[in-house]
């Protein structure tokens, strides 16, 4: 890891961790949340909901940072985040 400066305040930076909640039966399969999640937390599932659409599932739960973009983009009020905790930042290896 040479040549990478470690920020002095790295111990103070805390990255939020979020939990995704999905109301499967409200989903109409538009795909906005999956497409625009910045951390690829969601993907299309194979299961059908009661309307016949494929709701999203959480495939990378550890990568959710509670940004709330899925919650804001969803036209059906079917998905939202809650803050689960925070972790320390670290340099990616």
């Amino acid at each position: 890891m040479s040549g990478v400066r470690i920020p002095y305040d790295i111990r103070k930076i805390r990255i939020p961790r979020g939990e995704v909640h999905i109301v499967k039966d409200r989903c109409k399969g538009c795909g906005f949340c999956i497409e625009y999640c910045p951390n690829d937390v969601l993907a299309v599932s194979d299961e059908f909901n009661s309307k016949g659409y494929h709701p999203p599932i959480v495939v990378n739960p550890d990568r959710c940072v509670n940004c709330g973009l899925c919650e804001m983009l969803c036209p059906e009020f079917a998905i939202w985040n809650t803050l689960k905790g925070e972790v320390e930042a670290q340099i990616a290896s």
Partner: protein
């Protein structure tokens, strides 16, 4: 890596917006991939950020897909006749100036049949906020051409392609006298929410135009894909240019869309002018 600290876990049983939605009328009628639901989310987030007294917020909408918003937000809401949302809102505002009146309606409703009222409410600078969802089409009635439909687009009443030049809503609003004019797409969700908070706080006639996909009609008839394809198009082809002169904001068919905040100026509102000229109306 340190173990996950459980900082105050806010376990929400339900979607955070549910207190402000009429959940007994869900699911709503909007199609999969429609941007109106997203616009409603932006609006409700804006209201929550501003910490308004929600009892004093009144939503007035017209007829059309966007007009159905009045039925789904749990505030005092009025679902009025086609095109007459703005004068109805004027009546409510003048009847009780303490209310915060928001007009939430579509492009056809506000700028076509309601065009005259749009122009004059802007001229008078009535203190209302207009959230205009522009999906370039009359969706509720099956996809007819609208005054905002770009040239060459197909719709059910322009079966050979639309040849009428469309309205440029920010230019119209600025020319008529609006004090705040902004345009965003339903993809620019955070900037849209911020714009709505600014528009709600600005005294006078503020217009926020929201370009939204119409997955079932506009996109389908023109073979533009689904809602997600329209969103990808907005991602690639929208460019933020705050303060751009409104005459440059025409929207051509499947070309660049300029978004941003274009007008933010000061003018006396109707009620302020009334007070100045005629004196306080004690009611």
């Amino acid at each position: 890596m340190e173990a996950l600290e459980t900082v105050k876990v806010k376990e929400k049983e339900s979607h955070p917006m549910e207190p402000l939605l009429r959940m007994d009328r869900m699911p709503h009628i909007w199609c999969p991939g429609c941007g109106i639901g997203t616009t409603v989310t932006a609006f409700v987030s804006a209201l929550e950020k501003l910490e308004f007294d929600l009892n004093k917020v009144v939503i007035v909408s017209g007829i059309g897909c966007t007009g159905r918003v009045a039925g789904y937000i749990k505030l005092d809401s009025f679902h009025t006749t086609h095109g007459r949302a703005i004068p109805f809102a004027t009546g409510i505002k003048l009847g009780n100036p303490d209310l915060k009146v928001v007009v939430f309606s579509g492009d056809g409703d506000l700028v076509s049949i309601g065009g005259n009222h749009f122009i004059h409410a802007a001229r008078r600078n009535i203190d209302i906020t207009v959230i205009l969802v522009n999906n370039f089409i009359y969706a509720m009635t099956g996809g007819q051409v609208a005054p905002t439909t770009p040239v060459s687009a197909y719709t059910t009443t322009s079966p050979f392609g639309n040849f009428e030049p469309p309205s440029n809503i920010p230019q119209l609003a600025e020319a008529a006298g609006a004090v705040y004019v902004a345009r965003w797409t339903s993809l620019h969700i955070r900037r849209l929410t911020k714009s709505i908070t600014e528009a709600l706080q600005k005294p006078g006639f503020s217009v926020v135009e929201v370009i939204s996909p119409c997955a079932m009609y506009y996109s389908r008839i023109n073979r533009l894909g689904e809602g997600i394809d329209m969103m990808r198009f907005y991602h690639e082809n929208s460019i933020i240019k705050h303060g751009e002169p409104t005459e440059n904001l025409d929207i051509d068919y499947q070309k660049q869309i300029i978004v941003g905040k274009f007008v933010d100026r000061e003018r006396l509102t109707f009620i302020e002018s009334h007070k100045q000229w005629i004196g306080e109306t004690k009611s």
